[in-house]
Symmetry: C2
Subunit: 512 residues, 2 copies
C-alpha cells in the first residue's frame, strides 16, 4: 500500500435519534479514535466516505456517552440519506466545499452562469452537499438578476434532479395557484371535474410550510396522499386524475431544499418562483398548464402590472419546454370558501362537489372557471364550451362520483376528520359592512390554533367582504384541540381580528 492510500482509522456508524430537518448532522466523541477532534471544530463541514458513497455533513463534538470513541453518530436525516447500516465503517475528513461553489462565487461577483454550472449547483443541492449558508449564498447571489438562459437552465436542472413522470395521453393537464389565499382549495374540485371528463390530470400538491394547509394536507383528510410513483400511476390509469403529495414522489427535490432556505429568509424573487413551479410541472409531465395568480393587497402579487410580468415569465419557460401555459389572475382580496384548515376546507370541497345548498359559492364559481379553462384543452370544447361542460359535470354529480373514485383508489389516510372541540366565536366590534379581510392575519390565526398539524383546527368564516354585520355578530369561529393554542389564537384574534368593518360601502376591487 502506497502512502497516498494511508488509511485513516475508520468509525462505526451509529444512528442517533436527533431530528435535524434538512441538515445532515453527525456527532463524534472528543475522545474519538479516528482523529484528533481539535482538528475539526463544532459546526465545521465534514465528508463521510463508506465504500464509494460520499456524504457531506455538519459536525458536532461531544464528551458524552451519545457516541463511543470509535463511533460516528448520524442524526436521523443523515442516517436515512446515507443509507448504510449501523456498524458500517466510514472515514471522516474535513469537507472541501462542493466544486460548484466556485460558480456561486462567480454569480455573486456578477457573472451569468451557463447551464453546466447551474446543473452542477442543483445536483449538489439535491444531494445535500450544500450547507444552509451555501444555499443562502446561491439564492441571494441570484436574487439581483437572473438571465433568461439561467432561468431555463435552473428549471431544467431542478426538474431533472428528481423523479420525471411521463404519461401516455395527448393532453396532460395541470393547474397551479401561486398561493397565499386562505381556503382556496380549488384543485380538489377542479381535478374531479376534469378527470370526470376523461382528461388526464395527475395533480401533485405540496404540504403547508408556513400556511395553515396545503392541498396535500387537506386531501389527506379524505385519502392517503403519500403514494409511490407506481401507486400514483395506477390511480391516474383508473381515474384519469389524482391528488397526491408531490414531496413523496420526489418531484424536483432541489426545489424543496431551496424553499426551506427561501422561507426563513423571506426571499421571494419572481425568477426563483417561476423556476420552482415550472420545475415541478416539467417533472410531472404536464403538457397544458393553468396558472392562477390571485391579486390582492395581502396576496403575493399586488398589482395587475406585476401579474403581467410574472405571466410573461411563465409563458416564456413553458414555450421552451413545450408546455402550453395559460395564466389567469383571480380575486385575491379575501379567503376562498368558508374554511381555513384541512378539515374545514375538506368540508367546503365536498359540499361544492355534492351541490349542497350551503356550499360556498365563491369556491364553486372559481373552480368552475378554472376547470373551464382546462377542459378547453380538449379540441371538442375549444372556444367557450368549457364552462358549460364543467357545470354539467359538477351539477350532475359526475365530479362527486369521480372524487369518490379517486379517494377510494388512493385509499384511506387514517386521519380523523373531526373538528377541534374548543371553539370561540370572534364577533364584530361595530355595525357596518365588511371592508377588508387580512389574509395573512387569518392564515396566522389558523396556524396558531393548530392547523395543519391538528387537521381539525382552524377557522370557519361567516362573513365576507361586502357582508353587512351587526355589532356582536360572529364573523368567524376558531376551532382548536389544545387549550394553550386555543387561548393564544383567541387572544390574538380578539386583539386583531383581521377584519375591517365600517359603515361605508366597501371599496370595490372590481372583477379581475
Amino acid at each position: 500500500m502506497s502512502s497516498t492510500d494511508a488509511p485513516r482509522p475508520q468509525l462505526k456508524i451509529r444512528r442517533v435519534n436527533l431530528d435535524t430537518g434538512r441538515e445532515n448532522l453527525v456527532v463524534i466523541s472528543r475522545r474519538s479514535t479516528a482523529l484528533r477532534p481539535e482538528v475539526f471544530s463544532g459546526f465545521s463541514r465534514v465528508e463521510l466516505r463508506c465504500n464509494a458513497k460520499v456524504m457531506l455533513a455538519t459536525l458536532v463534538l461531544t464528551n458524552d456517552g451519545l457516541v463511543d470513541p470509535d463511533e460516528i453518530g448520524l442524526a436521523d436525516p443523515a442516517f436515512r440519506r446515507f443509507a448504510e447500516p449501523a456498524g458500517s465503517l466510514v472515514t471522516i475528513t474535513p469537507a472541501p466545499p462542493p466544486d460548484s461553489l466556485d460558480a456561486v462565487r462567480a454569480k455573486i461577483q456578477g457573472r451569468a452562469l451557463n447551464a453546466a454550472e447551474i446543473t452542477a449547483i442543483v445536483d449538489d443541492i439535491a444531494h445535500y452537499r450544500y450547507s444552509d449558508m451555501e444555499i443562502a449564498a446561491f439564492l441571494v447571489g441570484s436574487a439581483s438578476y437572473m438571465t433568461s438562459d439561467e432561468l431555463l437552465a435552473l428549471a431544467r436542472a431542478m426538474a431533472q434532479a428528481g423523479t420525471q413522470l411521463a404519461w401516455d395521453a395527448p393532453v396532460v393537464a395541470d393547474k397551479h395557484c401561486i398561493g397565499g389565499i386562505p381556503g382556496n382549495r380549488t384543485s380538489m374540485v377542479v381535478v374531479p371535474i376534469v378527470a370526470a371528463h376523461g382528461m388526464t390530470i395527475p395533480k401533485t400538491s405540496s404540504r403547508a410550510i408556513t400556511s395553515p394547509a396545503g392541498t396535500a394536507d387537506t386531501m389527506e383528510v379524505l385519502a392517503r396522499v403519500d403514494l409511490t410513483v407506481d401507486e400514483m400511476k395506477e390511480v391516474v390509469r383508473t381515474c384519469h386524475g389524482c391528488l397526491v403529495w408531490g414531496g413523496h414522489v420526489n418531484l424536483s427535490p432541489a426545489d424543496d431544499i431551496l424553499i426551506s432556505v427561501e422561507r426563513p429568509l423571506s426571499l421571494d424573487t419572481r425568477e426563483q418562483m417561476v423556476a420552482s413551479i415550472m420545475s415541478k410541472k416539467i417533472a410531472a409531465g404536464a403538457t397544458h398548464l393553468l396558472i392562477d395568480i390571485p391579486v390582492g393587497p395581502a396576496a403575493k402579487v399586488q398589482s395587475a402590472v406585476d401579474a403581467m410580468r410574472l405571466r410573461k415569465l411563465f409563458e416564456f419557460v413553458g414555450d421552451q419546454f413545450g408546455i402550453a401555459v395559460e395564466v389567469i389572475t383571480t380575486d385575491g382580496r379575501q379567503p376562498i370558501g368558508n374554511g381555513i384548515g384541512p378539515v374545514l376546507e375538506a368540508q367546503d370541497v365536498m359540499a361544492v362537489l355534492a351541490n349542497d345548498a350551503a356550499a360556498p359559492v365563491d369556491l364553486r364559481e372559481k373552480s368552475l372557471r378554472l376547470a373551464a379553462h382546462l377542459l378547453e384543452y380538449d379540441p371538442d370544447l375549444r372556444g367557450g364550451a368549457g364552462y358549460r361542460r364543467a357545470q354539467e359535470l359538477l351539477d350532475s354529480g359526475a365530479a362527486l362520483k369521480q372524487m369518490q373514485k379517486i379517494i377510494e383508489a388512493q385509499g384511506p389516510s387514517g386521519h380523523r376528520a373531526e373538528l377541534g372541540n374548543l371553539t370561540a366565536d370572534i364577533r364584530a366590534a361595530n355595525d357596518g359592512v365588511v371592508q377588508t379581510i387580512d389574509c395573512l392575519r387569518l392564515n396566522r390565526l389558523a396556524r396558531t390554533a393548530g392547523a395543519p398539524i391538528d387537521k381539525g383546527a382552524g377557522i370557519r368564516i361567516f362573513k365576507k367582504i361586502g357582508d353587512r354585520v351587526d355589532k356582536g355578530e360572529p364573523i368567524y369561529r376558531i376551532h382548536a384541540f389544545e387549550a394553550s393554542e386555543f387561548d393564544l389564537a383567541r387572544a390574538a384574534a380578539e386583539l386583531d381580528s383581521g377584519y375591517v368593518v365600517a359603515s361605508r360601502s366597501p371599496h370595490d376591487g372590481g372583477a379581475l
Copy 2:
C-alpha cells in the same frame, strides 16, 4: 390573568455536552410537556426566554434520553451564551426572524443601508441572533456593492459591538498584514523593537482559521496569549507592548462571526476586508496604523493596481476615525522566514531577535522595514531615521531583552515547544534554480502535518526563489507527531511539492 398572558408551559434548562461552534443549538424531547414538537421542525429557529433574557437558537428534536420531556437541552455554546443556571425555567416559541433582517432584504434588493440599519444588523449578529444562512444573506447581499457610508457604518458598528480600548499615550502604534504568506511572523520582531524604543504598541492578533498558524498561535509557543483586558493593560503599562490574542479580549466579536461564514464560503470582498480589519484597530485604540499588503501570484492581492485600490479604502476609513494609516506593499511571492507552523516560526523569530548567524535574513529585513515605518511616528525619528533606530535596537539586543520582558509579563503558556519527531525531507526532482513557490500549497501541507493544533508540526524550508538545487537535494522538511497526518502530508508533498525548479533563471518579480 388575561388570555394574552396565557402562560406556555416552561422547560427546565439542562446543559447538553455538544460543541456546536458558533451556532446556538437546543434539543427538546418529542414528548415535551411544553409544546407539541410537531409544531416545530428539525432545524427551525426558536426563541428562548428566561425572565428578561432572550436567545435565538436552532432546534433539534429527539426521542432519546438526552433530555426529559420537561427539559430543554442547551448545547455548550448556547448554555454559555444564555448564562442561566441548569434548572432555570424557560419558554420556547418559534422565533420570529430578527427585525434587522428587513434591512438585509432591502440590501439584497439593491438599496443602500443607513447607519442605524447597519448598526442593528451588527448588533444582532454580535448577539448570536442570526443563523448561518442569515449571516450569509447579509454578506452576499453586501458583496455586489457597498457605499463609502455603508463601509464606515459597518466598521464603526463592529468596533462598538465589543471591547473598546483606550490608551494614555500620544502615539498608539499598530500594524496589520492582510495575510496569506506562510511564515511572515514580523509582528513578533516588530513589537519588541518598537516597544524597546518606548512607543506604545498593544498588539492583538488572531489565531489561524484556515492557515497553519496565526501570530497568536505562534506567540503561544513562548507565552500565554489569552490575557484579560486588565492583564493586557498591565503588560502594556510595564512593557509598552504586548502580543496577545484579540479573540480573548473580545475586540469586534461580530467580525469573528462574519469571518466564520466568509471563510467556508470563500467570500472575500475588499470592503468586508477593510471593515473587518479597521473595526479591530478602532476598537484596539490605535492612533497610527501600518498595513502590510503582500503582493504575489498566490497572495490575496495579486497586482499593484489592486493593492492601490485597497490602500485608498484603508486610508479613507482611517481618515474618518482619526487614525493615521500608512499602507505598504511587500513581496508576497514566497514564504518569509524558514519555518511554517508555530514552533518553527517562533524559532525564526527568536533567532532574528538574538542576531543568530543562521537567522532568516528576509524575516529580519522585512521586520526592520516595518519597524522603521512605525518608529517614524516618533517626531524625533521622522524623515528617515526610523530604519537606523530599528537596526540599533535589534543589533544591540534591546529588542530581544524587550521580548523577554513581554514574555515574562504575559506568563508561561504551558505549551511544549518541541518539533514534531516524524520527519521527511522533500527533495528536488531535478537540477536547477527555484523558480516559484506556491504559498497556498505549503500552507495546506503544513496544516495537513498537524499545524496549528500540533504546535511543533509544520515545514522547515531550505530553499527559496533563486536558490540553486541539485536533483535529490532536500528543499524542505516536514515535521509531524501523528503517523496518519505525517503520511498524508508526505504523500501530498511528494505528489506536488509546491516548488518549480528549472534550469533558467527565475522570473524576477522585482523589488516592491
